[in-house]
C-alpha cells in the first residue's frame, strides 16, 4: 500500500515552497534557522 507520505516530515500543506528549508533526504524535519548558512552583513561576523 505504499507509505503515508504525510509522515515523511514535509509540511505538504505549507503555502510557501518547501525546498528552501529541505534539510536532507533522510531527515524527518525541516531545517531550523540555525542550520541555514546565510550571507549576513560582514560586520555581523564578530567571531
Amino acid at each position: 500500500p505504499g507509505i503515508d507520505l504525510t509522515t515523511l516530515g514535509l509540511n505538504l500543506n505549507a503555502p510557501d515552497n518547501l525546498y528552501p528549508t529541505f534539510l536532507s533526504p533522510w531527515a524527518d524535519g525541516p531545517c531550523r534557522p540555525q542550520d541555514i548558512d546565510y550571507h549576513v552583513p560582514t560586520e555581523y561576523l564578530t567571531n
Binding site: 516530515g9 528549508t21 534539510l23 536532507s24 533522510w26 531527515a27 524527518d28 524535519g29 525541516p30 531545517c31 531550523r32 534557522p33 540555525q34 542550520d35 541555514i36 548558512d37 546565510y38 549576513v40 560586520e43 555581523y44 561576523l45 564578530t46 567571531n47
Partner: protein
C-alpha cells in the same frame, strides 16, 4: 503478472557497495560550513522532548517574542546563519541598533545626550571578548553597561 526480475552481477555489486555506504550516510551538517563555536552535534534526546522546532519558528514574529538575552545569544553564537539574521531583525524591531565599529548593540534612550562623536547616551551591550574566550569555564553572561 510480472515475475520477479533476477538481479544480475552488476546489480549485486551495486547493492553490496550501497550496503557498505549505508553505514556512513551523510549527516545534514556535513553540508554546512564549520561552526567552531557551535558545532552541530546531532544528539538523540528523550522522545518526550520536542523533536521538531515549533511551527513558524523561522519567522521574525517568532524571534520578536524571544527575550533580548536570547536574541543576543543567537546573534553571537549562531554567526553566519539565518538565525543570526532573524535575531538581528528582531533586535532592531525592539529598537536596538548595531554599532558597526564596535560591533555592539545599543539602545538609544528617549532623549539621547551626545557623549562623544562616536557614543551617545544609551544602553550598550558590552561584549566581553576576554570572557568570550573563557566562556566554557565561567558562566558566560552578556553584560549591559550603561555608559555615561
Amino acid at each position: 503478472p510480472l515475475g520477479p526480475q533476477p538481479l544480475n552481477e552488476e546489480h549485486k555489486r551495486e547493492i553490496r557497495m550501497q550496503e557498505s555506504a549505508f553505514n556512513h550516510v551523510p549527516q545534514p551538517s556535513d553540508s554546512e560550513r564549520l561552526r567552531l563555536y557551535m558545532p552541530r552535534n546531532p544528539y538523540q534526546t528523550a522522545q518526550h522532548f520536542p523533536q521538531v522546532p515549533p511551527p513558524h519558528s523561522d519567522t521574525v514574529e517568532f524571534f520578536q517574542r524571544l527575550s533580548t538575552e536570547t536574541l543576543f545569544y543567537i546573534f553571537y553564537y549562531m554567526e553566519g546563519t539565518k538565525a543570526q539574521y532573524m535575531a538581528a531583525k528582531a533586535l532592531k524591531k525592539q529598537s536596538w541598533r548595531f554599532h558597526t565599529k564596535y560591533m555592539m548593540w545599543f539602545q538609544r534612550h528617549e532623549e539621547p545626550k551626545t557623549i562623544t562623536d562616536e557614543y551617545e547616551q544609551g544602553t550598550y551591550i558590552f561584549f566581553d571578548y576576554e570572557k568570550w574566550g573563557q566562556r566554557k569555564k565561567e558562566g558566560f553572561t552578556f553584560e549591559y553597561r550603561y555608559l555615561e
